[in-house]
Symmetry: D2
């Protein structure tokens, strides 16, 4: 093929901290990113780092290599930005290691993007914000759902065709529901920081606020003022399912003694800068047994509404009871059946927002766009989640932010929660 004519424009060299399920989604997504290359992967397990780097090369998204340490990854001058995708309980440690390397003068890192949730407690989140600020790094908060094409289109259309003519929306709903996560640490409150509320309501709590915010307006134009939450363990503390968890993920996942919530609901009342009270309702579940992962949202206003549901897919397959079907995850993430009428989510990395998200943050770290979500947003989400746990524990609505939020650690994380509905 012909050589490039003129000077090639700069490209962002990206390193991955983590090599799990989520990193896989990002790698898939980088196939649709024009100006970023995956050049490195670090994982505590060198074999997994090597496998992930190999996968990146076979996807032709960059000449990725495995690295022996986060420090080495940071030190490589070809790495301009990091994507943090590891488990929650390594978040602070990962970022400390990055900042430590930088402060020892290694590397030329400019930016850091971090998966949700930013941290497990407000204290951790504040520590992380302080670290990146001290290091002078650009930062991006990886909340994919805000970048989902259908969310972007629905948000834009509702405001342009509805709110601009009839007044702002007053109610947003968002839910993320599936039948439970894949890796053991998610199930352990002391590692993950909680149960499904901590794991997934970070998505939905931010999504409702985003939908209620006028495109282009600052997020602060819609401020949380009151918070009410419920948590419960509805499925996984039942003896059969508690046994199943232990058998699958090991004895450390013991839901007879140390359960985490598998259901959470949250009502947030917001004040808007033009004096309205509006409401966001968020729901998350690890006990939803439907076709697979279901992301859904609604936005309602005076003469309009919007609804989004990833399982209302334009593609459906049907297999009869005569088909011998192997269990798999080829129809949809967290798929629960292979027979019957099943929706298919084709191209999940696009549909769930990863393509748009990674394209945006690559461009943001290249200086072509302002980052749409930063660690400050991630911190606010943690504050909301902790207030939600606090509300659920106290059985009442709390003004936001409630006192003591900075020190708060959920009972589920402390191991004191016993699974009764709250």
């Amino acid at each position: 093929m012909s050589t490039n004519h003129g000077t090639a424009p700069p490209r962002l060299g990206v390193g991955f901290v983590g090599s799990g399920f989520n990193a896989g989604f990002h790698m898939q997504a980088f196939r649709a990113v024009r100006d970023g290359d995956v050049r490195g992967v670090w994982s505590p397990d060198p074999a997994r780092a090597a496998a992930a780097a190999s996968r990146a090369r076979s996807l032709d998204i960059g000449e990725a290599k495995p690295y022996a340490s986060i420090g080495d990854l940071v030190a490589d001058p070809g790495i301009d930005a990091l994507w943090i995708t590891g488990p929650n309980h390594r978040r602070v440690e990962n970022i400390e290691e990055i900042v430590d390397a930088l402060e020892r003068g290694r590397g030329t890192l400019r930016g850091i993007a971090c998966e949700k949730p930013l941290a497990r407690t407000v204290a951790e989140a504040k520590r992380i914000v302080e670290l990146v600020r001290r290091a002078g790094l650009s930062h991006g908060y990886l909340e994919n759902q805000l970048f989902a094409p259908q969310v972007q289109a629905g948000h834009a259309l509702t405001w342009s065709r509805g709110a601009s003519k009839c007044g702002r929306p007053y109610l947003a709903r968002a839910a993320e529901e599936h039948s439970g996560p894949h890796a053991p640490w998610f199930w352990r409150g002391e590692l993950q920081g909680g149960g499904v509320l901590n794991d997934m309501m970070c998505h939905s709590a931010l999504l409702v606020r985003h939908l209620l915010t006028q495109p282009g307006a600052p997020r602060s134009s819609v401020r949380p003022v009151r918070v009410t939450a419920h948590i419960a363990s509805l499925k996984w503390t039942r003896p059969h399912y508690a046994s199943l968890l232990a058998a699958t993920y090991g004895q450390d996942v013991d839901y007879t003694r140390r359960p985490a919530e598998d259901f959470a609901s949250l009502t947030i009342e917001f004040e808007t800068d033009d004096g309205h009270r509006v409401i966001g309702e968020a729901t998350t579940s690890w006990n939803f047994v439907g076709a697979g992962l279901r992301l859904s949202a609604e936005l309602l206003g005076p003469e309009y509404s919007m609804s989004w549901n990833t399982l209302d897919s334009g593609l459906k397959v049907f297999f009869s009871r005569a088909v011998r079907a192997d269990a798999g995850e080829d129809l949809v993430e967290k798929q629960n059946a292979e027979v019957g009428l099943m929706p298919v989510v084709a191209d999940e990395a696009a549909v769930y927002g990863y393509e748009n998200e990674d394209r945006h943050f690559v461009r943001a770290f290249l200086g072509k766009e302002a980052p749409r979500l930063t660690f400050d947003d991630g911190l606010e989400v943690v504050q909301l989640l902790m207030a939600a746990y606090q509300s659920a524990e106290e059985g009442r609505t709390l003004a936001f932010p409630p006192p003591g939020l900075d020190q708060f650690v959920p009972g589920v994380a402390r191991g004191t929660w016993r699974g009764a509905a709250q």
Copy 2:
């Protein structure tokens, strides 16, 4: 930003012949193509060429410039491949001009991708195939629907989970329906080559055959043997609508005297290399007044089925009768209303297959993948379409290929068709 480390991999320089609606979709799609840049645009109208080049630059998909002639575009050594997106009646002339430039020693062109249909008659299509073969060009046939993510997933799943266990599918259906094209030449049989059958059944006729073909098997494993078609003018010859056409597109679009069909249906019987007879049904319409463009397909086999419908979207908006709504095309291509419950097709360039298609052909012309569709496929499609017109004109099923196909020109193109249902 840091400079690239090592040698940058080669990138494909792409030039556009044409700057209309379809070119716009491709440009949108190049935002998700890693290793191709749009570097030039030619249009017979210099202002439109300049505008399209400017749009490419603002999309940040390449340093696109307008060119004064196809010859100049070919001559630029930064142009490695061309995307032909102009009107049907310029197809042969465009490609002659390209090949002429090459034969005069200009440029370093390697490949050429051409929009559907490849040509208006079998004679034209054979001429085009001969030209690119003579010039030694790689060629790609741009049939986006085969690259639509939901089509790819549905095809793969149906075969892997269904056909592999219970036998091959026996019936495929595909339809493309909307309320009529945007530019005047589409409506004129003598320019376009026909009506909706020529314009859109190229999609559906190939899609049914593709769905019936085992992934990885050659298209020749499923051979058309009998063809039955109907055409009719159902809406646009009604006086009110004929007037509307003339008022919108000028007096040359005169459906009282020279109509083209706005409805076509086609049944193809195929023989498979393992001895089965299977059926493809294709339908196209310019008189479908629903939310907007509807692409749909089904694939049916002994214990399974698949269905696809682009208007069964996971995103819906609703606006009440109290909303003053401006007509637009922001919800879906060829949108017919702005009020009521409306599906939204977010990210149409991805959903309709343009992103995957352009990514594939860029990689194909870079030598990284074998082209999945070539001009030979485009020729076969034209052969099917001409046999379809012949069947409709004769009111009977034809063995395929029927005699005289190479010389056949549809009555609609010759101006002799008078619009009665056939």
Copy 3:
């Protein structure tokens, strides 16, 4: 409970000829009929007659008794009307027996309602019409789909809100598709009169014409003028499935030697009394393996469209791969799976139109309404079906009615058809 005050209004006493699957639907439906009682059942099998009568009593739809002969049923003065629901090959014989009884002076029968198709050939249908006319009976043709609530509403709305303002519709589509009938005689061309075309296109062929006809206008305002059809055996002649048929229904169902078509498509061109050509497309299949029976239709006009699909149900259930599921038919008629995401058709007797149909014909025979469908409609349907078989056999479009229609017997019925696609 209090006695009735005043004179009780007359009620229609109904007798059933036949006690199979279809009779079951009608009995279910009579639960919603105010002024008709099921008082008798005849079946060639006395045990089945007794069981059906017992079922009617347990449904509390009348004091039904089994009868030893059709003559006895007719003779009972409490029987005012008969519902003929037996197999196609007994139709003429059943009606001859009824008329014979009447002509011998027995009973006080006023009306007779007959299930679709009215007969297997035009000759048979004409014989039936002649018999009921001679006997002076009121007659009703039981085409349930025209009475389906969603069809009634869709038809009414499309015309009142669309056609009345923008012109009549020009295209109607209807399909009835499932995975094959339940009783052996359906599968045997020589008994049933054909395959799926005869069995089910009677529904769809009439439905498209009905949809294209203005509410209140005579059916003759939309006259069939050209007919094109295809038939094929796509699934059940495959060796595995032919064996399955023989194993299930006995050696008389031998699809290796005497197949019937399991797929049929039909295009009807109509002339309207205001000078338009409009099109009806009908499709039927015994090889559709989806959730279960799928009834669907579309009606398209200049600024509007309507779509109906019984499987797009507002009720869906999901069962995971962990559920041990017994095969059944409790979700939907002709259900093919019990696991996965499945639509449920609740209250099928209402949804498919039986309730409205039976209510209407009871009222018609009571003299409260004019019958909306008579045996004359049934005869016209048979004429269309026979023309369709003729077109498929000849591989060409036929002007309707074609010569020789009165004597025509399909090759499938004669046992000469060998299953190649036509």
Copy 4:
């Protein structure tokens, strides 16, 4: 037509107290009731009583006459049961009048069926229960949603195919949402007893409990133990909409000074008799602007789920922006648009459960079935609703039943609520 043979079975003579929107649904439904006749109507407005009686006669559901007083209606020996469908603030008075007439020895009334909610406060509900008990009347509580065919089927299938094998469901959701009621009294808290919570959560609160209860088991097997609710006025206190209300319904509907809530959410925790904690979530809204009335529900358990949505209808119509559309309610109850893609709910009286409901209660009062819902159920619903208001006012979760429930009157009813979100 022939006379009845033998003795005609007894029929239930039904009188209507009330002649509004809801009475219209019941009359529509009686067309599908075999053994009950509408024989009388009383309304405070004699003209409306006459019109409703005339409508009943034209529907051929009985020889209905208007009555000058409730006493006269009760006194008619042809009236065996009353259907109470009037406004909430006349409930106690209506029933007192009935019982008074009976106690004065008039009439032969056996049963009384009453629309939801049974009353506006616990005190009123207890008074009503006491009255009917004293009078020795059979009583039926008219909660149509439990009789909706899709709810019945979904409930049955989920338990038979899911819960029986994998354990009982743990989460039920139900919502009733539309854009606001039709008559002035609904909007006035002091008359209606509250806002949307009182008006519509009676449906959803009972529905979630019903879904969580094993078919056949007593409702007491699933006992409410904790209640959390929110109420808010999101739309109708906005100045434009408050003016609209006053303009439409008169100055007594003044939402600037005396608003009622237009949004309510409720979480109920239940204890089951086998020791589980399960959750019901109910949502109601007068500010949902979608196609029209939306009834929806979900039921989730360990390996299964069910979803119901009345707007996911199998019938859809589309009208383009070129159609001049008159506002109407012919597509769906509380319809908000006539253009665009709109779902149609055909046969609403059946779909919403009225047909099954009326058939059941007629049979119950005839002694053929035990009533599935009585005033005791109605009382429990009122207790839950009042606890919900109390929870919303206090901003906390309440153990159920909370102290003081018998005396509780919501602030919205007392006129002290000012519309801030709670």
